[in-house]
């Protein structure tokens, strides 16, 4: 049996308010939420449920503090969006906010208590070099000067090496696709651009269509190996799905869109795990239909074993002896999905050698 988490129970609404208000349970919720970067979201959800005032005063203090952090994050991302708009407007380069930034600026429900450490944008491939030049001129600098890493990003990845603003310290990831060009699955980014919406009062700033927000979040969560924010991203998906599915034709549309974008596999995982862990009300019919994207029942079982562990908060109170292994295997899997075997072998050898050299230098 995979371990249980009070944070998961709270997010899925399967724990009664009285139990959360109890001091030891409440502290456990605090600890798990803090380690999963979900404390601000817990704060927002407690407000929604009119629960905050019934919690221990100490918990209320932590929630208030976390809410201030989320608000600061949101102010910052709006400011960054405006600065990027002004920068790219010079050459009329369209850009699309992704993930957290898109949730906030697009005023979606997943903005609720969402915190993030960087801003992600998408620009058309043909404008990538120009975009980078314009950004550098306005103070976003590359922080990684390792020539191998530079080449790795620029020739193989779907994004530039991260940029950091000299004065504000904010990190910016500039993508030209949502999946690395070397990856096994291919998805046509043109289609995402075609259905993106321009944001009011902006000239070159776009937000992906809602269905594409869901699909991109699924790709990010189930194909990238960085799962330290796994539960946060799963909760984003849960909130988006709950909110968007008030439209009757949403589920059918989402499935159709996943076929168009060739993203049935990530959508299958997204529906499977939001439903299983966070009790997202996915109608049985569509859960079954999403099985088109299943990797087969044997792999499914294996993935369950891994994701039921790796999607929990990375906290000592909800890990078992397999958790570390599960995280590591999913990390390896993400690389496996990202590049062909020979390239992966070269990459890992290179990285391993560098790490070994660095470690020896520091002792």
């Amino acid at each position: 049996m995979p371990p249980e988490s009070i944070l998961v129970q709270f997010l899925s609404g399967t724990i009664e308010a009285e139990r959360v208000a109890d001091s030891p349970a409440c502290e456990l919720l605090l600890r798990q939420a803090r380690s999963a970067n979900l404390l601000s979201r817990v704060a927002a959800l407690c407000d929604d449920k009119n629960l905050t005032s019934r919690l221990p005063q100490r918990m209320q203090n932590h929630l208030q503090s976390a809410q201030a952090v989320a608000e600061a994050n949101h102010r910052s991302v709006k400011w960054e969006a405006k600065q990027i708009e002004l920068t790219l407007l010079a050459d009329d380069i369209p850009f699309c906010l992704l993930k957290g930034g898109a949730y906030v600026v697009g005023q979606t429900v997943a903005a609720k208590g969402r915190v993030f450490s960087d801003v992600d944008i998408l620009v058309p491939r043909e404008f990538l070099e120009k975009t980078e030049q314009l950004l550098i001129r306005k103070g976003w600098m590359c922080t990684n000067f390792d020539s191998y890493d530079q080449r790795y990003y620029r020739t193989w990845m779907h994004e530039l090496p991260p940029l950091q603003h000299m004065k504000r310290g904010t990190t910016l990831d500039v993508h030209h696709a949502i999946i690395p060009p070397t990856a096994r699955i291919k998805s046509d980014i043109e289609k995402i651009w075609k259905s993106a919406h321009k944001v009011d009062k902006y000239k070159v700033l776009y937000i992906p269509d809602n269905k594409d927000l869901v699909l991109h979040s699924a790709v990010h969560l189930f194909c990238d190996g960085e799962l330290e924010n796994g539960l946060r991203d799963l909760s984003d998906l849960d909130l988006l799905l709950r909110d968007l599915s008030v439209n009757d034709d949403f589920w059918a549309g989402l499935l159709a869109r996943s076929v168009e974008l060739n993203l049935q596999r990530p959508l299958f995982y997204a529906l499977r795990y939001t439903h299983a862990l966070l009790k997202t009300p996915v109608p049985a019919k569509f859960l079954t239909a999403s099985k088109q994207g299943s990797p087969g029942s044997l792999v499914e079982k294996w993935m369950d074993f891994l994701f039921y562990r790796a999607l929990l908060p990375d906290h000592i109170t909800c890990t078992d002896r397999w958790t570390g292994l599960a995280r590591w295997m999913l990390f390896v899997r993400s690389h496996w999905l990202k590049m062909p075997p020979l390239q992966l072998a070269q990459h890992l050898a290179r990285k391993g050698y560098k790490r070994w050299k660095k470690r020896n230098a520091s002792v």
Partner: protein, 300 residues
Amino acid sequence: MKLSSLTRSELRRRLKEEGLGLNIGPFNTSLTSSIGVVGDGLEQLYGAFTLTGDADFIDFRVSLNSPSGLRRWFRPQVNFSFDGFFPFKPLPQIQAFAMFEWGLNWCIANNAHQYLIIHAAVIERNGVVCILPGTPGSGKSTLCAALVCKGWRLLSDEMALVSTQTGEIFPVPRPVSLKNQSIDIIQHYSFDAVMGDVVMDTAKGTVSHMRPPQSSVEQSEKPGTPGLIIFPKYTAGAEPNLIPLTQASALMKVAENSFNYSVLGLQGFEVLGELVSKCACYEFSYQSLDEAKETLESLI
């Protein structure tokens, strides 16, 4: 129950096993460590602090332990963990107690935005709270330690916690951190000052901590009303000199010394505006601690 009522072995047992829970101002902190100097430091400096009860809500669970692997024996190190998260690189093990202080500062500065947090020493006399914001080298900790030795109440030597609701200052009367020459200066200034171990060659030079007065610790629950903001500047050969600051420039200077002014946004500006409007604000250069004490007491 106070920490000083624990036997030496019980203190160490708790540190090793379930964690030693301490009520430190507004924060319940539980500390786990099997490193000897940590227990020593607590014994020397935290005796007057209240232990938390078994079922109490703990705000910060921290630990100070050796990293695994070779470094346990070879040039031993210590790692600070905040509930499984490691915000710092390991330090030499001899600095473990100082790392507890620095680590707890980090926990508060990053997780207590229910306060506007100002990098400052905070002391009180006759019901008037005096905030001494400090850039490094300004001598705020030395001045704070000196005044506290002469009867002022210690609220904090490191951070002013300004309530965003009431504007009051909440105490965290932890040991006062002293560096380099300040350690000797304070020991000579007051024979009552009790110092912890002196640790050399840290990132901040030689450091030691002064035990907070028992009466200040006993008033940990009692917030104070701010009345003075003093920007101290130790200046060799200077007569004590107070230069009044306008509210606007005091606000800007305090904002520069705030850890979370930008996190709080508009609320931060409003709280700070309130604070500055209630306080008399000065720049203060001084050399002699006695003269500084006299000057500041004349303002109250």
